[in-house]
Amino acid sequence: MSKNALLRSNCKLREHANNEWRIIVDAGTPPERVCDSEYHATVAGDYLPFDKLFLIWADSSRYMELLVLACGKGYARLEVLLDKALPAIVVSQQGLPPNHEIVHLGPDVDQMYAVRRMSDGVFLGKGFTSREAALDHLLAHASLA
């Protein structure tokens, strides 16, 4: 009979055994800093080994998941599970590629939002129902100046 089989006593609901923490990190904090033991010193007393930390940067620029390997009062040894830089959502005129603008032409189906190249007034696309749709088209088809 195989010795490496899971016993019922070794299998427990995760929510009964460990916690998951949602942490808001100040904007501008480098990702290496949050892996330091000192960063978590004030709260590490509440962590449990193999807790999961979900870190969200305050300006929505980054998302990280850390696993607590060892912890105690004032120290925590962590392992990075996921580190993802989040793309910035371009919304304002200043964030658009240069020499392009998004205008609203009128009510008809082939008017609405349009992408226009400012240097020669050529429309790259018309008839977008929302600014986001026009923006997606612009980012895919913007002419380099």
């Binding site: 808001i24 919304v91 009510p107 008809d108 189906v109 609405m112 129902t129 600014r131």
Partner: protein, 191 residues
């Protein structure tokens, strides 16, 4: 959606952009949209039925930047969900407060009067706390309001970043003097 329905949605977008924030009877909204469409307008009953459908209202809010919903007092609201493209305009809008911030939506400024607890939701920050000063918002208006807040927040963060020092100008002499050479290997005296 049929082409006629798409056309109707486009004109509903135009009407919403014209009014920015309108609250009244559905008949008046239907009348305005039909007036814009002119001769090709569907008749009032068809348009009214089309606008009252939940699927239409979801499409209008999701794709056409038009908020259309029925309020608790059975009036209809038609609100444009287009956000300003200029960051300065957005900043001014966010710092403007209506007469009664606890019962007026932060985006469309429509007054819910006694029903604010049912119609409006609090605007929350990333930590799920209500922002200070407290603002409330219709669920449909929440999307453009949060997008506008995000835009202003991003712009403020960019402005607060320290600008890199301009590099000092590099001076290269045009005719560099040749390097001084040592005596070299000993040479035989010239005869």
């Amino acid at each position: 959606m049929t082409p006629e329905e798409r056309r109707t949605c486009a004109f509903a977008q135009h009407t919403a952009r014209h009014y920015v924030s309108y609250r009244g009877t559905l008949d008046k909204i239907v009348e305005s949209i039909r007036y814009c469409m002119g001769e090709s307008a569907p008749d009032a009953d068809t348009l009214s039925t089309f606008l009252r459908k939940e699927s239409t209202q979801l499409i209008l809010a999701g794709e056409y930047e038009v908020g259309l919903w029925r309020n608790i007092d059975k009036s209809y609201s038609l609100v444009s969900l287009a956000i300003p493209i200029d960051v300065n305009i957005a900043r001014r809008r966010l710092s403007h407060f209506p007469d009664n911030p606890s019962s007026m939506c932060a985006w469309c400024y429509q007054d819910s009067k006694g029903f604010s607890a049912l119609e409006l939701r609090p605007v929350l920050n990333l930590k799920r706390e209500i922002i200070q000063p407290p603002r409330y918002c219709h669920p449909v208006c929440m999307r453009p309001l949060m997008a506008m807040r995000y835009m202003v927040e991003r712009a403020d963060l960019e402005a607060a970043k320290p600008k890199p020092e301009p590099a000092p100008p590099v001076t290269v002499p045009i005719l560099a003097a040749p390097p001084k050479r040592g005596p070299g290997r000993p040479r035989k005296a010239q005869p």
